[in-house]
């Protein structure tokens, strides 16, 4: 066996009427990875998560979560899974602390003798210790989001499934959640992170899968995916012709010229400093020279389309 998989699906399909919300996807989430799950609104991410957690039944296909079959052995897997699905949800008329006590009491595998302790440490971990006695209807969206994370952390978990965990959080909260995810990942917990925020995914994730219209259009190491897009050299100069000639002699061709800016695709390992020296020697007046690394966003847009309109 090559690598342990925390989540593995094959041919996973969910049909609503005649529409396939999820169309035969095969996810492979390595154990210990921080796995980014990307896709536009309506691409089937949440439906997939619902099937992974046994909330919805798959029309076709198989799911293995932490090595157990879903939905057959759902109750074996779930106690090891912490989840935040489609936003937090709590009883507004109860305090944050009582909400956590309630959910933990519902878990038939949780130990009631350590319940209070675990709830307190979960509240501490998300910075809600002081607001624990406030009723949830008085919470801001960010506080509810934190409480949702606390709920996912009530017990030691092997995997966390987090759907938009920083939704509604202020910049400080976003940073804290990011740090929290990093520290959890350092503990060896697999993180399955669904998000629209590409910057967040880029900062946190080792692996990604991109969904579009119910299908996985790309999956793998984030570096590999990013490197599928070319690195570009950007050069601004008033001596455009001379510069293009010099670049050609350095083996860099296919220059696109726009005003005083030259753009060309180059090897990511290009030595910009020595190229610059060469240009200067040829008396090209260089106003700006830099490499533009390929971004995940570029790849993402290429995979999922430019359009703002929801696909379906």
């Amino acid at each position: 066996m090559a690598q342990q998989l925390a989540i593995e699906t094959s041919g996973l399909t969910k049909r609503f009427g005649d529409q396939k919300a999820v169309n035969s996807i095969s996810l492979e989430v390595p154990s210990g990875s921080v796995f980014g799950f990307l896709g536009p609104n309506g691409s089937g991410k949440t439906t997939t998560i619902r099937m992974l957690l046994g909330l919805a039944e798959a029309t076709e296909g198989e799911i293995k979560l932490l090595g157990t079959e879903i939905p057959k052995d759902l109750e074996k897997a779930l106690p090891r899974v912490g989840a935040l699905v489609e936003g937090p949800a709590f009883y507004p008329f109860m305090s944050g602390r009582n909400n956590l006590l309630r959910i933990d009491a519902a878990d038939r595998f949780s130990d009631s003798s350590t319940r209070i302790e675990r709830v307190e440490s979960a509240l501490d971990r998300v910075g809600l210790h002081n607001a624990g006695n406030k009723k949830v209807h008085a919470y801001s969206l960010g506080m509810k989001q934190r409480l949702g994370l606390a709920n996912a952390l009530l017990k030691p978990r092997d995997i966390l499934v987090l759907d938009e965990p920083t939704n509604g959080l202020d910049p400080q909260g976003t940073r804290e959640v990011r740090n929290l995810i990093r520290s959890l990942s350092a503990e060896g917990i697999t993180i399955f992170l669904s998000s629209h925020l590409l910057s967040e995914i880029e900062m946190l994730c080792s692996h990604v899968a991109v969904m579009n219209a119910g299908k996985i259009v790309a999956q793998g190491l984030i570096e590999d995916l990013r490197n599928e897009e070319p690195t570009r050299l950007i050069l601004r100069t008033d001596d455009v012709d001379l510069a293009v000639e010099t670049l050609k002699s350095a083996g860099i061709g296919k220059a696109k010229i726009l005003g005083d800016q030259i753009t060309c695709e180059v090897d990511p390992a290009l030595d910009v400093a020595s190229l610059n020296a060469k240009l200067v020697r040829k008396k090209v007046s260089v106003k700006e020279i830099r490499l533009q690394r390929s971004s995940l966003e570029e790849k993402y847009v290429k995979l999922t389309g430019e359009g703002f309109e929801v696909v379906r």
Binding site: L55, E75, L78, E86, N98, A105, R108
Partner: protein, 276 residues
């Protein structure tokens, strides 16, 4: 370990959620108001009803305050108690789905069957609380406004005050049994939707329909199958000796409704995709 297997903690947590809600207390307060309004109205009016006029037992209220609870039960049974039952039973699953807490309960994991059973038992506890609230409030206001003494039963037999309290408790239990079938119907309806108000209304409609069907003589063949059929027969508990027949028939009938709608709720809820 034993408590865990039986789900006692989940049950207690269920009750905690229910009795943390102001709505629950408001409904109990409204139930308590029924005998209070009734007693105050009777006490303030100078007219004395002739025996047999007005609702049954009403004439006795002025002579013995302990009858207030029984009279109030007669007034509350057709509409008000079913209303509170439909609020609680209709909310069981749909309420959690509407809040979104259902998905977190299920992935905790609570176990779908276990949740369904606990929800039903908790709604029975509410009905019990409601019927006892009504009887206790009735006895209390009756004792304040009217003379209290040994109670003369429908059969002319007289029982002591203590025994009268026993009969009150029996009537409250009887009514709880009466409403248990309707609670099962509400539980099933609650698994059909994520809009709790819809489930509550639909549940209330079923008791209304049942009451109407029970009043159409041409449909007499079906009357004894309606869950409302024995509702007002708690008066049989006010005879000496007690006539247990209607109590037994009522229990059997309600168990039938619980079995059918419990099974439907089970079938629906255990296979349902939770998309809320």
């Amino acid at each position: 370990m034993f408590a865990k297997a039986l789900g006692i903690r989940l049950f207690l947590s269920e009750l905690k959620v229910m009795f943390t809600r102001r709505r629950t207390w408001a409904m109990l307060a409204a139930i308590a108001l029924i005998p209070i309004l009734l007693a105050v109205a009777v006490a303030l009016s100078s007219e004395r009803l002739a025996p047999g006029e007005g609702p049954p037992f009403l004439a006795q209220v002025t002579q013995n305050g302990l009858f207030t609870g029984f009279t109030a039960m007669l007034l509350a049974l057709p509409l008000f108690l079913p209303l509170t039952v439909s609020v609680v039973a209709g909310d069981t699953i749909a309420g959690e789905a509407g809040l979104g807490t259902l998905r977190y309960l299920l992935i905790s994991p609570v176990g779908r069957v276990r949740l369904l059973v606990m929800k039903y038992l908790a709604s029975l506890v509410f009905i019990l609380a409601g019927t006892f609230t009504l009887m206790i409030a009735g006895a209390a206001i009756g004792a304040i406004l009217f003379p209290v003494g040994p109670v003369t039963l429908l059969s002319g037999f007289t029982i002591s005050i203590f025994e009268a309290f026993g009969r009150m408790a029996l009537v409250a239990l009887y009514t709880t049994v009466s409403l248990s079938g309707m609670a099962a119907v509400g539980l099933f309806i609650s698994t059909l939707t994520t809009v709790p108000v819809g489930a509550m209304t639909a549940t209330l409609v079923t008791s209304g329909v049942s009451n109407i069907l029970g009043n159409i003589p041409q449909l007499e063949w079906m009357h004894s199958w309606l869950f409302t059929y024995y509702w007002l027969d708690f008066a049989d508990l006010l005879r000496a000796p007690i006539e247990w027949g209607s109590m037994l028939n009522n229990i059997v009938l309600q168990l039938g409704w619980i079995a059918v709608f419990g099974a439907l709720a089970y079938g629906r809820f255990t296979t349902k995709d939770i998309l809320s």
